[in-house]
């Protein structure tokens, strides 16, 4: 029943929802999408130079990442996966932290943002979002939780258990699924036998929405609406954002092995989310001529700075490997730390093994 799940669109000739995004927000969304693209390209290069480890870019998914996250309030909880540094950035995590993470130097979260450490095991963070939402609701806090994940993530048991819990407890949670067409080498058509992912919502009695994931304003609005529903006590929403992963799965991946070039070509150019938003905002006069170019230039400066911050960060030290495992380090663990410092301390003093 494809008609039961129309594609929510704001930008483009087939738009079926009015644009309700304030112009200044729209420009900020555009700005952050450019930042994200710039950051991804920069970081891919860093990886090629061997300065950071494996990195999963979100090339092509900027609208879904940035548009969705702009609809959140600072108190909202975010449970991201490894590819969501765009959403992280909007929600308060500086790009430098993402670089640190790619350098193997620690967590991608910072000291203020309500962002869980990016989840590596697929969909295992969805139950966390449900619990965060249930806690907020029980503590009478007017905020929600949102989980980010991909098309492949819908196959895991945790997806199912989390959505079912959310439905039963009417938790104020949003499940934001970016259907980017692929789970590494597996196309979504082999991931599930259903024509859409959003229709899975009806297995849980939760609200479902399918959005054009390359339409940043639609992503913004659809999350905003889901958020309002959640806060009104009307329960969770599963959002399927239809987008496309233009780049490799990670810098360690070679999509040429499995993906037809024609498919890729369909999603670049006019369908590129940044191109689409730029043309739209310029058409409305919200972006003046030349402004986009300036935004791009500023983005490069900004991203370079963030990257430099990370690259220039102090080397890690032995003791911090032990530091936060428990609030108070148990005796046996402290002995292990001392032993390591005794044996490897000299090296650590010289700047660590990975200076």
């Amino acid at each position: 029943m494809p008609d039961a799940w129309p594609l929510y669109q704001v930008i483009g000739p087939e738009a079926n929802h009015p644009d309700r995004v304030k112009p200044e927000i729209a420009v900020k969304i555009f700005n952050d999408m450019v930042l994200l693209r710039t950051f991804d390209e920069k970081t891919i290069n860093l990886q090629r130079q061997g300065r950071v480890g494996t990195f999963p870019p979100s090339l092509g998914q900027e609208a879904a990442e940035i548009g969705s996250a702009w609809a959140l309030e600072p108190e909202d909880w975010m449970a991201p996966s490894y590819r969501d540094h765009g959403a992280l950035y909007v929600h308060g995590v500086p790009f430098s932290h993402v670089v640190l993470f790619a350098m193997g130097k620690g967590s991608s979260i910072d000291g203020v943002a309500r962002v869980l450490p990016s989840s590596i095991p697929i969909s295992s963070h969805l139950p966390h979002a449900v619990g965060l939402a249930m806690a907020a609701e029980r503590l009478n806090q007017a905020h929600i939780a949102i989980a980010y994940f991909g098309d492949g993530g819908t196959s895991e048991g945790d997806f199912h258990e989390a959505l079912n819990f959310a439905g039963v407890f009417r938790a104020p949670v949003i499940f934001f699924c970016q259907n980017n067409g692929w789970a590494i080498s597996v196309p979504v058509s082999q991931q599930t036998a259903t024509p859409t992912l959003v229709q899975k919502a009806s297995a849980y009695g939760v609200f479902g929405a399918r959005v054009d994931g390359n339409d940043a304003l639609a992503c913004y609005q659809v999350v905003q609406e889901a958020r309002a529903r959640a806060l009104a006590g009307d329960g969770p929403t599963l959002i399927e954002a239809l987008t496309y992963r233009i780049g490799p799965h990670t810098t360690a991946d070679d999509p040429a092995r499995y993906r037809p070039l024609e498919e890729l070509e369909q999603w670049t150019g006019a369908k590129d989310p940044i191109v689409r938003l730029q043309e739209y905002l310029e058409g409305l006069g919200i972006l003046a001529p030349g402004e986009a170019l300036r935004i791009r230039q500023d983005a490069t400066v900004f991203v370079n700075q963030a990257v430099d911050d990370a690259l220039n960060s102090a080397p890690v030290e032995i003791h911090s490997m032990f530091e936060h495992v428990y609030q108070t380090i148990p005796r046996g663990l402290a002995l292990q730390r001392e032993e390591l410092e005794r044996i490897h301390g000299a090296m650590a003093g010289k700047g660590g093994l990975h200076g």
Binding site: L126, P127, G131, L132, M134, R138, D158, N164, H324, Y326
Partner: protein
């Protein structure tokens, strides 16, 4: 002070903790209206309501996973897994998240979550209702694991677990639920996470054990004292992680002989860890090899076999006699 069994002690503790702190919530299968399949949460749903004593859908990964979220979000969740054999669907949450979020968030988030799990065998339960899977939990960095073997310790350790800033797995030996009553005071009882308990002092041999096996050890020790004049010291670990290797070492340095007793299968069971810790801390005092008395390396069998599968008095007494023969 009232005499009570472990079920009542845990129930009373939960009730006190919930009354004291509105952030404490219980969740799990059948913990609410039904009061839990072992009646451990009896009466709490009536007293505190369905929003704080939450009957969940049948999904262990979501129980533990959502409880992790609740803990980070400001609640003090106490999740129940109905039997240890049904923890397995939740292990991804435990291995990938529960003990890692502290480190992975650079200490920004802690996970003050307690997971209660009835465990262990010897009660003629249906298949797969009697597993003892503590070893893998103890192997998991970032979490704590406790197992009371008396109603008093159950109360004290549960207080400590709920107050702990880090995730604690609270194992409840099913066999001891209603076996034996003792005086347990109202209100907070102090049994810190960490220290083992010398359940019985002795000079000839140390038996290191936990959970229901503590009672087996006590019986054998009494028998051997009476019939053979053998003086057995029993260390009830109480906390399995972090393990009190100092108390173990002290005992073995005194007796020179040690036996580890547990009801999980032998190979790669927690017994090996205890042996290794004795090796490291008391090698020069050892008069005889440390022995293990454990379940067999087979799946927990249907209950007609369980008295052979589980350690028996005969086997423990035999191991003690052998140790003394060296």
């Amino acid at each position: 002070m009232a005499e009570m069994n472990a079920v009542t002690a845990i129930n009373q503790t939960l009730s006190e903790l919930m009354a004291e702190d509105a952030r404490v919530v219980l969740l799990g299968e059948d913990v609410g209206k039904n009061g839990g399949v072992f009646r451990v949460t009896e009466g709490l749903w009536n007293r505190f309501g369905a929003r704080r004593v939450v009957d969940t859908p049948l999904a262990e990964s979501a129980i533990v996973g959502s409880a992790i979220g609740m803990a980070i979000g400001g609640l003090r969740p106490i999740a129940e897994i109905q039997f240890m054999g049904f923890l397995y669907p939740a292990l991804n949450q435990i291995f990938s998240h529960m003990g890692r979020i502290g480190q992975r968030s650079s200490g920004k988030f802690r996970v003050p979550l307690v997971v209660r799990i009835p465990y262990g065998g010897g009660i003629r339960a249906p298949e797969q209702h009697a597993d003892s899977a503590e070893a893998m939990l103890v192997h998991t960095p970032g979490i704590k694991v406790v197992v009371p073997s008396t109603p008093y310790d159950a109360k004290g350790l549960l207080y400590a677990a709920v107050e702990d800033p880090d995730p604690v797995i609270f194992l409840e030996p099913i066999k001891l639920y209603r076996l034996g009553r003792m005086e347990v005071p109202q209100g907070r009882v102090n049994v810190p996470i960490g220290p083992a308990r010398v359940a019985r002092s002795g000079d000839d041999v140390s038996v290191i054990t936990w959970g229901a096996m503590n009672h087996l050890a006590m019986e054998v020790a009494e028998d051997l004292a009476r019939t053979a004049g053998i003086s057995v010291e029993i260390i009830d670990l109480r906390t399995l992680k972090p393990m009190d290797t100092e108390t173990i070492a002290e005992s073995v340095q005194k007796t020179g002989r040690a036996i580890v007793l547990h009801e999980a299968p032998r190979t790669a069971g927690l017994g090996g860890e205890v042996v290794a810790s004795i090796q490291e801390d008391a090698f020069w005092w050892l008069k005889t090899p440390v022995r293990r008395v454990t379940a067999a390396d087979v799946p927990y069998p249907p209950f007609a076999w369980e008295d052979w599968y589980m350690p028996t008095k005969e086997r423990l007494a035999g191991a003690i006699r052998e140790a003394l023969a060296d």
